[in-house]
């Protein structure tokens, strides 16, 4: 297992009282928990992944995501079981939409 921690500057997302969870820690899948963070223009991401040595890939996927989506003011925790970058991006979008209060 590898633990990775990142911080990205990102436009603030409308703050939400509740947390959002989506996905399952199953093969090729991951779960993402979005909670309110303490810095409004920063997205903090903490990852536990079963696949070692993909830090640069995670950084690239998350940097793209936090640039294209307003995700500032959140703390995102991820438990990963070998999800591909495409699955990670889709799940992030899903989790953030749920955090903002949208359906899925």
């Amino acid at each position: 297992m590898e633990t990775l921690d990142f911080q990205f500057a990102s436009a603030p997302v409308s703050r939400s009282a509740h947390t959002a969870l989506c996905g399952v820690v199953g093969s090729g899948n991951l779960e993402i928990l979005v909670q309110a963070g303490d810095q409004p223009a920063t997205c903090q991401v903490s990852i536990k992944t079963s696949a070692r040595g993909f830090g640069a890939t995670w950084q690239a996927v998350l940097a793209t995501f936090t640039t294209s989506h307003p995700a500032g003011g959140t703390r995102i925790a991820i438990n990963d079981m070998g999800a591909t970058p495409a699955v990670v991006s889709l799940r992030l979008a899903q989790a953030l939409a749920e955090y903002r209060g949208g359906e899925q």
């Binding site: 969870l21 820690v25 779960e31 928990l33 909670q35 992944t49 438990n79």
Partner: protein
């Protein structure tokens, strides 16, 4: 019929949280120890494996058709729904709460291969604590209803737990047994049981077989709404009986008779023939309603 198929939402394919969303009254679900508040498994972390925020089980309270219920739903996609220390402690805590709060029922959405082997003794102890807690809840008059229809079925210790519940509602896709097919094949050889033969696995452990044998109170379509309807109908007509030694002895006798009648048979097909099914080979293709009609027509 075709409209029903279009609207159908598969229980088998859904996650634990999606099952709960469709099973319980909309907006009534209150999770206890939600992700972020509970601790993930320390044993998996010690083995350098990523855990899940809820350790593979969602517990809480809700209403079902207006009646207050407590629920526990196992997530089969996380480590095969296997029971670790925290996973087990959450279920035990919920069942103990049921003894105090006396809800109309505890709904137990089982989807598990049994003990989480990574957690060894902690997992085994967790299973035995769940067994005791299920019996304590029932002795306090709270029905515990098992719902089985997930990809992992109910195997190992969770197979025992399922049979300790007041009743089981199962889908054709659901499976219920003690040792899993691959365990039997590994221990006793492929001549004893071929775990790759999926049709055989379902003929021996699947929902239709369990229903025909009388192990499950109801056979349900693989549809979240069908589970909801079956669970609320079952609870409306169910009163938890006082535990009695006489009933235990009678049930022991039923099991002995069953072993004598079917113990030497090798396949569900042979068992169904012995039960009086005229065309046992047609059973796997029957839909739910036809199978229920078939069972009702069987000699008792």
């Amino acid at each position: 019929m075709s409209q029903a198929l279009v609207a159908r939402k598969s229980w088998f394919e859904a996650t634990a949280r999606a099952r709960l969303g469709g099973l319980l009254d909309a907006g009534s679900l209150q999770e206890i120890l939600p992700p972020g508040e509970a601790q993930p498994s320390p044993h998996l972390a010690a083995l350098d494996l990523p855990g899940a925020f809820d350790d593979g089980v969602v517990i809480g309270r809700a209403t079902l058709a207006g009646r207050p219920v407590l629920f526990a739903a196992q997530e089969g996609q996380f480590m095969g729904g296997a029971v670790g220390e925290i996973h087990g402690a959450k279920i035990v805590g919920l069942l103990r709460r049921a003894v105090q709060e006396k809800p109309a029922a505890v709904l137990f959405l089982i989807d598990s291969g049994g003990v989480r082997l990574h957690e060894a003794n902690a997992g085994l102890i967790a299973i035995s604590e769940i067994m005791r807690a299920v019996l304590d809840a029932r002795a306090a008059g709270v029905p515990v209803l098992a719902l089985v229809g997930g990809s992992c079925g109910a195997f190992g210790g969770m197979g025992i737990v399922a049979k300790l519940c007041s009743a089981i509602l199962i889908s054709e896709e659901g499976r219920l047994a003690l040792s899993g097919p691959e365990v039997i094949e590994t221990v006793a050889g492929v001549e004893e049981f071929d775990s790759k033969d999926r049709a055989l696995v379902w003929r021996v452990t699947g929902g239709k077989h369990r229903y025909l044998m009388g192990d499950c109170a109801g056979l349900v379509d693989d549809d979240i709404a069908a589970f909801r309807l079956a669970a609320s109908e079952f609870l409306a007509g169910w009163q938890e009986a006082e535990p009695s030694l006489g009933e235990l002895r009678a049930s022991q006798r039923r099991l002995e008779d069953r072993l004598a009648a079917y113990g030497a048979l090798r396949d569900g097909l042979q068992v169904w023939a012995a039960l009086g099914v005229a065309q046992p080979e047609s059973v796997p293709m029957l839909d739910r309603d036809s199978l229920v009609a078939l069972k009702e027509g069987l000699p008792t």
